[in-house]
């Protein structure tokens, strides 16, 4: 989280160095898509928070559908991002184009990697919650895994306005 905080700060500072370049570059991004992505992660976080509650009160049968929903949200986020990257590459934009795009691609790519790890964690939790009863240790795995997912959501909640909204 500290590393991402430093990245955020570096980005905002770099934007201050050349606001015109950043503003012009941001015209290539589609805000509505990023809004959809934010809503996808917020909804999948809601599902994960509900998983933790369900597991804690012994309703493990509710956990799996919620985890699947969260995973679908994560996968949908990836799809939207891939579409976005494809469009940018199609316009011959890449991390090498200018400073804005360097930050944009690196930050979103790092986030995507963490999202992928998060999806693997959710898949592991799915395998865990199949049984009727979980041990206290297993419950704590669900809580920790859930927190990791929320952190992925939090990173995006900050990236969204920084990259797409602030001009």
């Amino acid at each position: 989280m500290t590393i991402f905080a430093v990245f955020f700060g570096t980005y905002v500072w770099a934007r201050g160095q050349d606001p015109e370049l950043f503003r012009a570059s941001q015209e290539h991004l589609t805000q509505s898509r990023a809004v959809i992505n934010t809503l996808l992660l917020l909804t999948s976080s809601l599902c994960v928070a509900a998983v933790v509650q369900a597991v804690r009160r012994g309703a493990t049968e509710k956990a799996r559908p919620l985890l699947v929903a969260a995973l679908v949200g994560g996968a949908a986020f990836w799809v939207v991002k891939v579409v976005e990257y494809s469009e940018l590459f199609g316009d011959h934009l890449s991390p090498a184009t200018n400073d804005f795009f360097m930050y944009y691609f690196i930050l979103t790519w790092l986030h995507l990697l963490h999202l992928l790890v998060g999806m693997a964690v959710l898949a592991f939790l799915w395998s865990l919650v199949g049984r009727a009863e979980l041990t206290p240790r297993q419950v704590s795995y669900v809580e920790a895994g859930g927190c990791y997912w929320h952190m992925v959501d939090v990173i995006w909640i900050v990236l969204f306005p920084l990259l797409y909204l602030v001009r």
């Binding site: 928070a49 933790v52 959501d153 909640i157 306005p161």
Partner: protein, 75 residues
């Protein structure tokens, strides 16, 4: 679950609100984002009922990171 859904609705509203507010209000949009982060931490990550040190670290991150970004946005 009801409380979680209510928090989710607020987060969605804040997201749409930031989008409508748009680019000219950079500092406000960043501030809203960090308020959203707090909601996720306090309600989804259950920090409201967590041991105080955990909550302090989280709130500290929000204040320091958010504050720095808002200051940089205004500069």
């Amino acid at each position: 679950m009801r409380r979680l859904s209510a928090v989710w609705a607020v987060l969605v509203a804040a997201t749409l609100g930031s989008w409508l507010l748009g680019g000219g209000h950079g500092a406000a949009v960043v501030a809203i984002a960090f308020w959203k982060v707090r909601l996720v931490g306090l309600y989804f990550m259950e920090l409201r009922t967590a041991p105080v040190p955990l909550r302090v670290v989280f709130e500290g991150w929000v204040v320091v990171t958010g504050g720095t970004l808002i200051a940089l946005s205004l500069a």
